[in-house]
Symmetry: C2
Subunit: 218 residues, 2 copies
């Protein structure tokens, strides 16, 4: 039975994502997709316009999946009643680490795609999707009772994401995979712990609450 257009699109995207994961964007070729999907190269182009269109559609799926992973991590925190901010940010970071590990080629290719393609013509839906992801992290920070306005909280969320991303992907040399994973997690724990303490201190400074914090008898 022939697949309908939507089913064929899904099949093409699954193949495309596997190709990118295996060999990066250089491994994404219309001919390979067509062969594996059992359709003509022309049909691939009919579905997605061009190879960039295929890649953009793969990226949208990735962003959706990352968003779902973030929301699932939040739901799990709600379930176990964890409302400590440090704990919550660490859970989000852990979800991101798992996501990056599960998408070794396709996620770096998405980021490279962003760097390469950004123009004023870029569809806003794409950027909006990224901003939704940052909103999840900003929501976690909002629960933290820091003295952050919306703009600075959004910047802090992007900064945390960039930093965790850097820790996961910077490739600091360790002698074995085990030590590498330990190093990544130690850096994330230090970052998140110190960052939350720093936001707390900033809030105290702005609120003039230092005297209050020390108002117990010396």
């Amino acid at each position: 039975m022939a697949l309908n257009k939507e089913e064929m699109s899904e099949k093409v995207l699954a193949i495309a994502e596997a190709l990118i994961n295996e060999g990066g964007v250089d491994n994404l070729k219309a001919r390979t997709i067509a062969e594996q999907a059992g359709i003509s190269v022309g049909s691939v182009y009919n579905l997605f316009g061009d190879l960039d269109g295929v890649h953009r559609a793969v990226n949208m799926r990735l962003l959706d999946r990352l968003g779902a992973a973030g929301i699932a991590a939040m739901a799990e925190l709600e379930r176990v009643g964890a409302n400590d901010v440090r704990h919550r940010v660490l859970a989000m970071a852990a979800a991101y680490v798992r996501f990056v590990e599960a998408h070794p080629g396709s996620w770096p290719a998405l980021l490279a795609f962003n760097r390469r393609r950004v123009t004023p013509q870029e569809p806003d839906a794409y950027e909006a999707r990224l901003d939704e992801l940052f909103d999840i992290v900003a929501g976690v920070l909002k629960a933290g009772d820091f003295d952050l306005d919306d703009k600075r909280r959004a910047l802090a969320a992007r900064t945390l994401w960039s930093s965790v991303h850097g820790i996961v992907t910077s490739g600091y040399v360790a002698k074995s995979d085990g030590r590498q994973a330990d190093e990544i997690w130690q850096q994330i724990e230090l970052l998140v712990g110190i960052f939350v303490k720093g936001l707390t201190r900033e809030g105290l400074e702005r609120g003039g609450a230092f005297a209050h914090a020390g108002s117990k008898p010396a």
Copy 2:
């Protein structure tokens, strides 16, 4: 006049680095190097063993250059008498941003090389060079009068580096180069400011100095 072996090595490495900067490691080919250097492919291999040997030698030069940039940034801070830790860490971050921008292909290729090649056989000199770079950052933190032992200070230095690296390279989408640069610098300023505040707070907590900090009349 024929170049001696050392001069030819330098010439080969300069060509190799330019090739990597232009097109990544896929652009590094013994034939291209040989053509541009005016020598045979065999001569390239005689000098460096294999292409990985060429790449490793390019990487060593990059690490030396980054180390020199860090030391120059420190010297400039000494010259102007800047001894505030936040200011110092920001100056190191700025030096790193400039370095990454000046090496758009070769620096990502070095990090990818690390991820790909790490084995127990990897020469220790290579890892030692990276650790020397982290020592510079750790030295800046040491001046900060935080309550950090050597091990945690070294971890904090690696964490700061990974985080700044992530901010510079994560490819968060902005509509123009100008906005991208602004975004990067805003994230770095927030990260460093909050991180230094967090280390300070950690020090106060450990030192039990909160009461002291608030000992002025309420």
